[in-house]
Subunit: 350 residues, 2 copies
C-alpha cells in the first residue's frame, strides 16, 4: 500500500520560490522580464525599454554596443556550434539597432579537463563565422575553472557597431498601421537543439537557422531608412516573446495572421508531436521588422534579394491597442491572445 506523507503535498508558495534564481529566469520570457524589471535594471539604474543593444555617443559617431553569454548545450548541433552561434548572436543584436558591426570580443570560461582539440574546434568556428561576417575578433579573455565549475565552455561575445545618422530602429518606435515583416521560417534553432539533445528520430533533418543578419538589415535600411521603425531577432522566447516586448515598449497592439507564418514542415511536425507552439521556439537567424505601411513592399522586395530573406513575408499589422496585446488570427478565422513564454520551454538554448 502506498501512503502519502501529507508533508510531501505542501506546495511551495510562488513568492518563496522566486526568492531563488530559476531556470525560467533565463528563458527570454515572462520570468526573465520580471527578473530584469524587478532586480537588475532598477539596481543598475537603467531605463524602461529593453533593447538588444545600447547606443553610446562617441564624438560625432553613434556606437552600438551589445553583449551576450552563450551556454548552449550540446555545444555542437545541426547547423552550428557554440562558437558560430556566439558570433551570429552578437552581430545580430548590433544589427537590430541599425548599426554595422565593426569589432567583436570573445571571453572564454573553460572547464579544467576540456580537450584542447575541442577548444581549437570552437575557436576555429568563432574565427570562421567572424571572417564570413566580415567582423574581426579584436580582443578576448580566458579564464579556467576547476572541474564542475562550468559545463565545458561558456563564451561571452560583445560587439561594437557604428550607426549611420538618421537611422534609429527601436523597440519603442512601432506605430499603428506598421506592417510586421518576418525574414524567414521560424523554430529552426530551438528544434535543432532539441533534436541534438534528445536524438529525436523525426527531427533528424532540422538544422539551426543560426546566421548573421547584418547584411540583410543594411539592405533594408538602404531601401527604406527610418521607415524601418523596429527590428528584433526573436531568439529565446521566440516570435511570441519578441512581439510582446515590442508591443509593450511601443504602447501598441499587434495582430498576426497565422496562415502567413512560415514554419517548415519538419518543424511544424516536431512541434505538434511535442506540444510546442512554434511561436515560442527560439530562432537565431531571422528577424521581425516593423515598417511604415507605404514602405513595406519596398522593404520586402529588398529582403527577398538577400539569401537570408529570400522567403521574407508580411505576417501581421500593428494596431492602436490595447497596449501590449498580441493576437493571432487562426486558420479557421478565430482569434487568440498570444502571450510571452511564461516559464522555461528549453533551458540553455543559446
Amino acid at each position: 500500500m502506498t501512503t502519502l506523507d501529507p508533508l510531501s503535498l505542501s506546495c511551495p508558495t510562488p513568492h518563496a520560490e522566486t526568492e531563488r534564481v530559476l531556470l525560467g529566469h533565463g528563458s527570454g520570457g515572462q520570468l526573465m522580464a520580471e527578473l530584469l524589471r524587478d532586480v537588475i535594471i532598477p539596481t543598475l539604474g537603467g531605463g524602461g525599454v529593453l533593447e538588444d543593444a545600447a547606443v553610446v555617443d562617441v564624438g560625432a559617431a553613434q556606437v552600438v554596443f551589445s553583449t551576450d553569454s552563450f551556454v548552449v548545450t550540446p555545444r555542437f548541433f545541426p547547423g552550428g556550434d557554440i562558437g558560430s552561434l556566439a558570433v551570429h548572436g552578437t552581430i545580430n543584436d548590433i544589427a537590430m539597432r541599425g548599426a554595422d558591426p565593426v569589432a567583436l570580443s570573445v571571453a572564454y570560461v573553460l572547464e579544467e579537463g576540456l580537450p584542447i582539440t575541442e577548444l581549437r574546434r570552437i575557436t576555429t568556428s568563432v574565427a570562421t563565422a567572424a571572417h564570413a561576417a566580415g567582423v574581426p575578433v579584436v580582443t578576448g579573455d580566458t579564464k579556467v575553472v576547476e572541474r564542475g565549475g562550468v559545463d565545458g565552455i561558456y563564451l561571452t561575445t560583445t560587439g561594437i557597431g557604428v550607426r549611420a545618422p538618421g537611422v534609429d530602429p527601436s523597440a519603442a518606435r512601432c506605430r499603428p498601421g506598421d506592417a510586421v515583416l518576418l525574414s524567414g521560417p521560424i523554430g529552426g534553432h530551438g528544434m535543432a537543439i532539441l533534436s541534438a539533445r534528445s536524438d529525436l528520430g523525426f527531427a533528424a533533418d532540422i538544422v539551426s537557422d543560426s546566421q548573421p543578419l547584418h547584411r540583410l538589415v543594411r539592405t533594408m535600411l538602404d531601401a527604406a531608412g527610418s521607415a524601418v521603425h523596429a527590428l528584433r531577432d526573436p531568439t529565446r522566447g521566440g516570435v511570441a516573446s519578441a512581439l510582446n516586448e515590442l508591443a509593450d515598449a511601443s504602447g501598441v497592439s499587434i495582430s498576426l495572421d497565422e496562415p502567413a507564418l512560415p514554419v517548415s514542415r519538419q518543424v511544424a511536425a516536431a512541434c505538434e508531436i511535442l506540444g510546442l507552439d512554434p511561436l515560442h521556439v527560439a530562432n537565431e537567424g531571422c528577424l521581425i521588422a516593423m515598417v511604415a505601411p507605404d514602405s513595406a513592399d519596398r522593404v520586402l522586395a529588398a529582403m527577398r534579394r538577400r539569401p537570408e530573406g529570400v522567403t521574407a513575408c508580411a505576417i501581421g499589422r500593428v494596431g492602436d491597442g490595447p497596449t501590449g496585446r498580441v493576437t493571432v488570427r487562426t486558420l479557421i478565422g478565430s482569434s487568440r491572445v498570444l502571450d510571452m513564454l511564461v516559464g522555461e520551454q528549453l533551458p540553455r538554448i543559446c
Copy 2:
C-alpha cells in the same frame, strides 16, 4: 610493509597532459601565454602583441575595447566582491591603453538556485562601483544554467573607451632607459582572496586593492602625454608576469630594484609563511608605467597627487637586452632572474 605498484610511478608526459585544459592555463602566467600563442590567437588571426585592450577606429575617434570574465571565489572578499572587481578590472584594462572609459556591459551566467538576495547584492555592487567610477552600465545579458552548471554566478564585463589623439601607451613601446614606475603596494588582492578562502588568521587585515585606475592614468597622461610609453595593471600572474610580457613585447630587458618594491608588512609576512613571491601575486588596483626618463619625475609627482598613487615609486629601469629578460637586484646586492608565473599559484583569483 609498503610496496609500490610500478604502474603508479608512471608519469604523464607533459605533452599528453597539455592536450587538456589545465587550471594553470588560466593563471596569467607561462601556460596561459602558451595557450594564447599556440591555440587561440593564431586561430582567431590576431597579431603578436598581447594588450589589455584593442583599439578600433570609429570615424575620427579611437575606441578602446576590452572584455573580461570574472569567476573569483569566494564571491565576497575583504575589499570587494565579484561585482566591484568586474567593474574595476574592465575599467582598468581600458585605462591601460590610455583611454577614458565611457560605457560598460555586464553579462551574467547564473546558477539555478542562486538566492535572489545575492544577485541583488552583487548587482548593487556593480552599480555602486560603476557610479563611483563615472562609467555607466548601458547593456547586459542574463543566462541561467541548471544546478552544477556554474558555481553560483560568473560575470563578464566589457568596456568601451575613447582615446585622445597622440596618446598610445602599448606593451610594445617600452624603450631602454625608461623608468619603471609602480603606483602602489603589491600583493593585496591575491592575499585577500587567499585569506578569505582559507581563513588564515595572520592575514585577517589584508584587503584587496581592487579600485579603478582611469583617473590616475588621466593625470599621468595630462602630465606627460606620449612620454608614458606603456601601462599595465599586474593582475593574474602579478608584477613578474606583467614585466615579462612587456619586456617580450618591446624587445627589451627590465631590471628591478628589490628594496624599492612596496609590499605591506602584512602581505610580506603572509607571503613568507606561505612561500609565495609577492611579485607573482595578483593585484587589482595598481599599475606599472614605463616612462621616458626625462618625464619620470613629473609623472611620479602627478601620480602622488591622486589617492590611488599616493605611494607611487620608481622600482627599476628598462635596459637594452637580452630581450625579454627581467632581473631583480636583491637587498644584498645580488641579482636574480624573475620569470613569469609558470603554472597556477591560486586559481579563480579574478
